[in-house]
Point group: C2
Chain length 221, copies 2
């Protein structure tokens, strides 16, 4: 039974890594659609979200089968419960990428992105992709060191998010209300995406070490 359990859990883990890859590709493409006002790309991101949702349902079914057939306990059971949580988080990350693409689509052929925010949004998209990539690698390798790096990436995302607001709320802002509203929503999507990525890593750290993220971080300082 132990070996069957291991095989089934590996299958679930592979599904989670694949989900993180899809959520990463989606955010990368959504960001390009946003920055380049590319309607076709935006629509392809929106259509591709179904694949994330299907994978999510498949993982839940796999977890269900594993619980029913193997009846794992202790650490084994904890890993399955964590996988359920992580799949839900990755599914939401896919949704957030879809939302970014949705803003690009809604404003097409206009661009949502004013020149003075282009650099900030580009970096937000890069940080988002870095975070999901690390999250995927943490799921695959259970590498606690990489997980801890995500905290700094998330801080960077928060700085960039704040910067958006500083620019939009400046008296020299000349791009009007609609652009400000769209940018504030897009900013929120990136910021949430990053948070979710970190929460995936937190789950893995807790699973591997039995300790909270903050405690592991603190001990390392």
């Amino acid at each position: 039974m132990r070996e069957a359990y291991r095989e089934q859990l590996d299958g679930i883990t592979e599904g989670l890594v694949e989900m993180s890859r899809l959520a990463g590709t989606a955010m990368g493409r959504a960001s390009t659609a946003l920055l380049d006002a590319d309607l076709t790309l935006a629509e392809s991101v929106i259509a591709a979200d179904d694949a994330v949702d299907e994978l999510y349902e498949r993982i839940e079914q796999q977890a269900f089968d594993l619980l029913a057939l193997q009846q794992p306990v202790a650490g084994d059971l904890r890993a399955v419960v964590a996988a359920l949580r992580i799949s839900a988080t990755l599914e939401r990350m896919g949704d957030l990428a879809e939302h970014v693409a949705g803003v690009a689509r809604r404003r097409y052929p206009a661009s949502v992105v004013p020149p003075e925010l282009r650099g900030t949004l580009l970096e937000m998209s890069q940080v988002a992709e870095r975070i999901v990539q690390k999250a995927g690698s943490v799921i695959a390798s259970q590498d606690v060191e990489t997980a801890l790096e995500l905290e700094a990436d998330d801080d960077r995302m928060d700085d960039l998010h704040r910067k958006l607001f500083t620019v939009m709320l400046d008296k020299d802002w000349k791009h009007g209300v609609e652009t400000a509203v769209d940018i504030s929503l897009v900013g929120r999507y990136y910021e949430r995406y990053a948070d979710h990525g970190v929460s995936v890593a937190r789950r893995v750290v807790y699973l591997v070490t039995g300790e909270k993220f903050e405690d592991v971080l603190q001990r390392q300082e």
Copy 2:
């Protein structure tokens, strides 16, 4: 074992109902804080979110214990997996209420809410409370009829959400960029809150009937 299982599952269900109650109270109070620019109330909502998070962790532990000790299969197992999902959704609803309170706090002593949007936001808060109340009652009673009602409530929320944008993007909007940004975020929080409430009901319907929400709805039409 069957009776022990039933008792433990009832304990989890009670926890979920309590979470929905807390998430509802939080959104009700956050809405008042927003509409009345009440700092003390906003801060009390933010402080109270810890209780939701603790309950969320307790439910996960209870589910874990139940899985480990009772090793349920089939429908019993499905109920526990659904409870895990529902608790995660209710936790996010609590977060969204906290975010609404956060906007009220950030803008204090100014009010975020311009007179012409007061009615719309008030109704959004009422729909949000109705939805969470029904979601709680669906969890407690597994009442499919009430679950199906939520679809109409969610449609109403979407209409109100769209109305916010119509007003903000009108050329006569005179409340500036900062207010528009805040309102668009608050609008998003209500809309997400409603969606999450509906997804709780969907889970219960699927659990009870083995069918997707849409299919049950369609058959009734």
